[in-house]
């Protein structure tokens, strides 16, 4: 009865409702021009705050009044509007925004749309990051951004990562880009206690990242002034969105192994080669047997091959990776939040190496009023690392390949490592030593934004970054510290940074001109304190803290700091929607520089012309976008020591008496290094932007390079930091994105980038070479070129190693005579450690619920010098086990080979020469992902929004002719040294990982 009443009443009221604009419920489906449903489309009633979003199937439902206007917006698509009329169902097919994908990009102190962009910025979205589980932030970018080379130093899990944006533009200063998280520059200092760097960004959970923008050209980077030269990496973390609360859960597990292992001599081969080598050098068989017996437990071990240890297999082990994360996000009109936590555990492929990271993030923003918004982004993480020695230590696992194959790894009990080995047995590190690091990282950022007028906005940001690291080492009584009954040290570092940004933003339109102005200031203070203590003589190997040390042998503390004070401004004008002009400046002052050079000014200008907006092209779908860009600007590099401009005396003790010595001679004129960068670009879009491409050409000229200028040591120091020298980088970048197949069920898109870089040193102090062991900075050559004696193979009559004399003759050519006397040969420039071409190719495919993607990454033109070669591959010069290729040594007159006669301790070709230099071109299947997303019909019944299972493989295939472990693995102890680039020394190859995982959204 009650029901009937309502039905009747409704019947009567409906006409009234129509007449008076009564509310009703509209439903519908939103799809794109290809008919694919679009989840997450924003739908609002124009002029109100009433709004909703489409669900996973593109469906929506909203209560509106007739006559009101529904506005449908979605990134990259044209905004659609519909007036609510009779119909209760409004289905919308949204059109591609043919003019340009109006993507929003984060830039320094603001945002811009891709359409209005005159800069060169590479952008990576969370979708791209999310596809592939990687343990660190930087690895997400590999192969994705043109002109950005990303290389993990070597295969240790916490290893530092080198990011080179458009080549190397400094010599002594840092080459790393500036990292800015949510507007705040963060600490990027390696705090490792040994020479193997720890990735300073290891505590950042890649899954918290919404987008990464890399500011490559001066027009975008100059707003960061004295720190813009190496590019700027802007990281935006995920924020909550208004609407339903989303819960995302992800979990993956993978196993890993080395990408490559090398071949070494087994016992039989070792005995054969070294016996031959010994006899050639005048040792008797008895003497050789005596030597072999030292390193074998029983004579039969080597005579009969009873022991045949594969030391490489002991060093490179199977690893695994576990990654778990949960995030919750959501919000209402006033308050939005994003909360996440993650756990990552990586058991490295190098024995004894492990990383565990716990991370937490809470981002929140709140509208205090219509005009006033505040927020906080905060992250805290703890990373625990079980570390290894740096590559230049016997204790580093990979140096075990030098051990003799008939030495047993363990004693008879099978547990205690064997002490009677050629080199210190690294297995003691696991058995009787510990090396642990805890890193606590806290990045916090508070902001307030006030809309002063409709056009003028003020934003203040306060950032605090704390990198707190404690590194503890213990070496027990069986290790290298046997003579002192063990040794332990602890090293504690606190590095904190305060940043204050205040700036105004003004947006307005004056007739045909859209104007955007930004102006403000920034202050930054960075403090670092360190405490260290070392002890010896432990009563027991089970007492590993310094409390138990019998003697404290070293201790210390230090403090250091630097400040930056900066003012900046930017004006951006778009005229008639097609002519774009931009100008910016930054004034930077730093405590690091000499008094006379304290402030620097960094201007930049750029312009763009969207030709496709002109009448003759407008609406053309074949050529749907055509834009020309040009920019010029000045950036700096300030990454040197905090007090490099001064002459200093520091403590130097003798017999524990206090003393003072000159530690550096300073140049009071020291200032920043300045880079002038010019960029020309063209953006193209075809077929309604199904194909987009851009081409950029740049030149980067750096002068006043921050340089450790070598001076005669007769002056009491070896180097002085000066602004000296000039170098340039030139290059071409090409990016192509295509949507090859767009359909209801099947989609395929491709993204390809390739970049060239030509580096040349154009001036040095007095045009004199600067040489760092195997590398050289020489005018007219790429920076850090290899500088080596040229190996000329083997004399087929004598078996002697030969070298080209390469003496400079009066006519300017070089003497190409061969000599077997190393001392007679001159060094020559022999290769470039940096690639001339880098490229990446990514394909994404979707078929129904299946998805697949893969990225190929390649580089060409670089060489790597294997400094370990003088031990590994020297036809049995020293007792080190040899690479297997040494078996093709010269044995009798007439033999044609590249390996000289084996001579134990005979010095036949073991000198540093191009014999150990090799080209490092490679193409790598960086990742391959196969996934399946369950149909929403099934998952919805389980109250699950989305469930995806996937497999990901990282570094599955590497195509290279490089003859050592890996073309990307380099000596970690050189990582901080610009000039010593491209040097390998027992450097672990990267991991090849096979991962299975799932993502679950509620």
């Amino acid at each position: 009865m009650k029901n009937l009443f309502w039905k009747v009443l409704t019947f009567f009221l409906i006409p009234l409702a129509f007449a008076y604009g009564q509310e009703k419920v509209i439903t519908g489906t939103v799809s794109d021009s290809d008919g694919l449903v679009l989840p997450g489309v924003n739908i609002v009633v124009e002029g109100t705050t009433n709004g909703t979003q489409t669900d996973f199937d593109g469906n929506y439902s909203i209560t509106v009044s007739e006559g009101e206007v529904l506005v449908f917006t979605y990134i990259g698509l044209k905004t659609s509007t519909r007036v609510v009329g009779d119909a209760n169902v409004i289905n919308i097919q949204m059109e591609m925004d043919a003019q340009a994908l109006d993507e929003v990009l984060v830039v320094g102190f603001g945002q811009t749309s891709k359409r209005r962009l005159t800069d060169n910025i590479a952008s990576i979205s969370s979708e791209q990051i999310r596809e592939v589980p990687v343990p660190n932030l930087q690895s997400t970018l590999v192969g994705k951004a043109a002109g950005v080379q990303i290389t993990q130093v070597n295969g240790k899990a916490e290893s530092g990562i080198q990011v080179r944006v458009r080549g190397v533009s400094t010599i002594t200063g840092s080459q790393e880009p500036l990292y800015v998280v949510d507007g705040i520059p963060i600490i990027n200092n390696n705090e490792s206690v040994n020479d193997s760097p720890i990735n300073p960004l290891i505590g950042i959970n890649p899954d918290d990242i919404e987008s990464i923008e890399i500011l490559k050209d001066a027009s975008s980077a100059a707003i960061y002034g004295a720190r813009g030269t190496n590019g700027v990496v802007l990281i935006t973390t995920k924020k909550g969105k208004q609407g339903k609360t989303n819960v995302s859960l992800r979990s993956s597990f993978g196993v890993s192994q080395a990408t490559n292992k090398r071949e070494w001599l087994n016992t039989e081969e070792y005995v054969e080669l070294f016996t031959e080598a010994g006899l050639n050098s005048g040792f008797s068989e008895d003497e050789l047997a005596g030597i072999f017996n030292i390193f074998s437990e029983n004579e039969e071990d080597w005579r009969e091959g009873l022991v045949d240890t594969d030391w490489q297999d002991l060093a490179l082990v199977e690893g695994d990776v576990q990654d778990i994360g949960v995030s919750v996000s959501g919000g209402n009109e006033k308050t939005r939040f994003f909360i996440s936590t993650g756990y990552n555990k990586t058991n490295g492929i190098v024995r004894g190496n492990r990383v565990e990271r716990y991370s937490f993030r809470a981002n929140m923003d709140h509208n205090v009023s219509d005009r006033f918004k505040i927020g906080i982004n905060s992250a805290i993480s703890k990373t625990q690392i079980s570390r290894l020695s740096d590559d230049n230590a016997f204790a580093t696992p990979l140096q075990a390949v030098a051990q003799i194959p008939f030495s047993r790894p363990f004693t008879d009990d099978g547990v205690t490592p064997n002490n009677e080995t050629l080199y210190y047995n690294f297995l003691f590190q696991e058995f009787n030593a510990d090396h642990n690091v805890n890193v606590w990282r806290n990045i916090l950022n508070l902001f307030g934004e006030y809309q002063i007028t409709d056009n003028l906005r003020f934003r203040t940001e306060f950032g605090y970054d704390l990198n707190n690291q404690v590194e503890e080492r213990f070496f027990g009584s069986l290790t290298e510290f046997a003579a002192t009954n063990g040794n332990a040290d602890i090293n504690s570092v606190q590095n904190e940074k305060y940043v204050l940004n205040n700036y105004f933003t003004y947006d307005n339109s004056f007739g045909p001109v859209d104007l955007n102005l930004v102006g403000g200031m920034s202050f930054e203070q960075d403090n670092r304190t360190l405490q260290t203590v070392e002890g010896q003589d432990f009563p027991s190997d089970d007492l590993q803290t310094i409390d138990s040390a019998g003697e404290i042998v070293a201790g210390g503390s230090s403090r250091t700091f630097f400040n930056f004070l900066s003012y900046f401004g930017r004006a951006n004008a778009t005229i008639l929607g097609k002519y774009i002009l931009k100008g910016s400046f930054r004034i930077d002052g730093s405590s690091r520089f000499g008094e006379e050079q304290r402030y620097g000014v960094f201007p930049a200008f750029s312009g763009g012309w969207i030709i496709s907006e002109e009448n003759f092209l407008k609406g053309n779908t074949a050529l749907s976008n055509l834009k020309l860009r040009a920019s010029w600007g000045l950036t700096g590099n300030a990454e040197i020591g905090n007090f490099d401009s001064r002459t200093l005396l520091g403590a130097r003790t003798y017999n524990q008496n206090p003393g003072l010595s000159i530690t550096q001679l300073g140049d009071p004129e020291l200032g920043w290094e300045e880079t002038t960068q010019t960029n020309f670009g063209i953006d193209l879009g075809f077929l309604n932007n199904r194909i987009t491409a851009s081409v950029d050409y740049y030149t980067k000229i750096t002068d006043g390079i921050l340089l450790d200028v070598p001076v005669p040591s007769t002056s009491g120091v070896q180097t002085v930091v000066r602004n000296s020298g000039e170098l340039e980088n030139k290059g071409l970048e090409f990016v192509l994105n295509t949507r090859n197949f767009v359909g209801d069920k099947f989609n395929w898109s491709t993204s390809f980038n390739i970049a060239t870089n030509k580096n040349e040193v154009t001036a040095l102090p007095n045009d004199a070479d600067i040489i760092a062991v195997e590398n050289i900075a020489r005018v007219g050559e790429p920076i850090a070129s290899f500088f080596l004696v040229e190996y000329a193979g083997v004399n087929s009559e004598t078996g002697d190693a030969q070298f080209y004399r390469n003496t400079l003759l009066p006519d300017g050519t070089r003497d190409r005579e061969k000599t077997n006397n190393f001392g007679e040969a001159s060094r020559v420039v022999a290769g470039n450690p940096f690639p001339e071409i880098i490229a990446g190719l990514t394909n994404n495919l979707n078929f129904g619920g299946f998805d697949a993607s893969f990225t190929l990454q390649g580089q060409w033109g670089a060489s790597v010098y294997n400094r370990g070669g003088v031990f590994q591959s020297t036809n049995a010069h020293s007792l080190d086990n040899q690479s297997r290729d040494q078996l093709r040594r010269w044995q009798q007159p007439g033999d044609i080979t590249d390996v000289p006669q084996a001579r134990l301790d005979g010095g036949n070709g073991n000198q540093e020469s191009t014999r150990f230099l090799d080209e490092a071109d490679f193409v790598r299947l960086r990742n391959l992902t196969l996934g399946y997303t369950f149909p929403s019909g099934i998952t919805e019944k389980l109250k699950i929004q989305r469930l995806r299972l996937y497999f990901t493989g990282i570094n599955l295939l590497t195509f290279t002719d490089y003859n050592s472990w890996d073309p990307e693995a380099t000596a970690d102890f050189n990582a901080g040294n610009t000039l010593s680039a491209g040097i390998e020394f027992y450097s672990a190859p990267p991991a090849k990982t096979f991962t299975f995982g799932f993502n679950l959204d509620f």
Binding site: T647, N655, L660, S826, R827
Partner: protein, 447 residues
């Protein structure tokens, strides 16, 4: 305009950070030269650091002595270590980038500059004579050690115009004062060495704790005169030390080594403590259990060395076993001081000089040699010859870093190379040649 106040407020906060003050920071671990050099109290601090430079393991606490022993090695030793640099010494194929060579040059000149800074800024005080003497002792000693390695041998009785070292006598305390010197002749370098050490002798006190006293200067002079073949001066200098320094032979041979404090026999030692300094004799000559690098000992002693001995002699058994190898017991203690000037050496210098000159200043050569022999329970020699004295030198001073310099002074051939072979002279470090175009390389090294 209701927002005006707010804008003003924001503008005020905008500039609230005072500008330049925040950019004036002073380092916490370092001082600038002005106040240090003006303060006489700091002069001793500068001197302490000068000792530290000279006593570095790369300079006079092991590395240079290792080079001397290996370069002169003709089978008494085996190099079993893995460092490339000593291997180059051992096979007499040094290259200009040899890092041991480079470190010796660099750190020695850091020490020399440090002494120059001290001498430039010396202000008269109670202590200033002593400080001047010590600085000159260090400077003269460093030039002497460098000259023996980096120049062709000193030829007695002729003008030694062969390339020596750049003589630096003015301290560099600012980058503008850096010079690009050429090499002086070896004769000029020896003149400087003898001038510095004579000045030191005259300025230094009779004893000076662990630091250099006048007899330390005299002992280095004795060594330098011997190297020049100036036997009379060598004899008299050694005689002065033996008679007046108060030092004497330790009771037993073993007591002369592995001492953590200066002993009766030590005229001068480089100080090592667990906290400070590194004994590279120990690093290379001891086995791992005693702080060395390898289980065999990086340098082991072979049969030909033992051929020097006939009959019982404590010095022929002052060895222990490595892994099937024989290593010297001289450097068994990781934190022992490095004996730099031992009284035994003075006996040997006086005996040899007396013998060559046919004199018997202080003691007859035969008695002097037998004094050493008796200490080691060896049978005394009757009818002493020069060869006996030289053999005694090897028995007594073996592995202490004299081998190369003795071979050159005695014009012995090494592995078929004449004593004055180019390749028995250190190359001028490649780094130095690269940094200083005025520096001439040594003959025989072209890359």
């Amino acid at each position: 305009m209701k927002h005006l106040n707010l804008i003003l407020l924001l503008l005020a906060t905008f500039f609230f950070v005072r500008c330049d003050d925040n950019l004036e920071l002073e380092p916490a671990q370092s001082l600038t030269p002005g106040p240090v050099l003006a303060n006489p109290e700091n002069t001793r601090d500068l001197l302490i650091a000068a000792y530290d430079f000279a006593g570095e393991n790369e300079v006079l606490s092991g590395q240079s002595q290792l080079a001397s022993e290996l370069l002169a090695n003709v089978g008494e030793l085996t190099w079993r270590g893995t460092f490339v640099e000593p291997d180059e010494f051992d096979i007499k194929q040094m290259t200009a980038p040899n890092f041991f060579v480079q470190e010796l040059w660099e750190i020695s000149y850091e020490g020399i500059n440090q002494t120059n800074v001290i001498l430039d800024n010396l202000q008269v005080s109670d202590e200033s004579d002593i400080i001047e003497g010590e600085a000159k002792f260090i400077r003269g000693t460093l030039y002497f050690e460098l000259a023996r390695f980096f120049a062709l041998p000193y030829e007695a009785g002729s003008t030694n115009s062969q390339l020596g070292l750049p003589i630096m006598l003015e301290g560099v305390v600012d980058a503008g004062a850096i010079t690009f010197p050429t090499r002086n002749t070896l004769e000029e370098v020896y003149d400087q060495i003898i001038r510095d050490l004579n000045d030191a002798y005259n300025l230094l006190p009779l004893s000076n704790d662990i630091f250099a006293d006048r007899y330390a200067a005299q002992a280095v002079l004795a060594r330098a005169y011997l190297q020049q073949g100036n036997y009379a001066a060598a004899r008299d200098a050694a005689d002065d030390v033996l008679n007046n320094s108060g030092h004497a032979l330790a009771t037993t041979y073993a007591e002369a080594f592995n001492n953590e404090t200066d002993g009766i026999e030590d005229i001068f030692m480089w100080q090592i403590t667990p906290q400070d300094g590194e004994n590279d004799f120990n690093t290379f000559w001891a086995i791992r259990d005693f702080g060395g690098r390898s289980i065999t000992g990086d340098v082991t002693v072979e049969a030909p060395y033992f051929d020097l001995f006939t009959g019982s002699d404590d010095r022929s058994t002052f060895f222990y076993e490595g892994s099937g190898t024989i290593v010297t017991s001289k450097w068994q203690s990781q934190f022992a001081n490095v004996p730099y000037l031992r009284i035994a050496e003075m006996h040997l210098i006086r005996a040899e000089s007396n013998f060559r000159l046919g004199t018997a200043v202080g003691l007859s050569p035969e008695d002097e040699i037998n004094t050493l022999r008796v200490r080691s329970n060896a049978v005394p020699i009757a009818g002493l010859t020069l060869q006996d004295i030289l053999d005694e030198r090897k028995r007594e001073l073996g592995f202490e870093g004299h081998a190369l310099h003795d071979a050159k002074r005695l014009q012995l051939s090494i592995d078929g190379r004449p004593y004055n072979d180019d390749l028995l002279v250190f190359p001028i470090p490649q780094r130095e040649l690269d940094a200083n175009p005025n520096l001439e390389p040594n003959p025989g090294y072209s890359n």
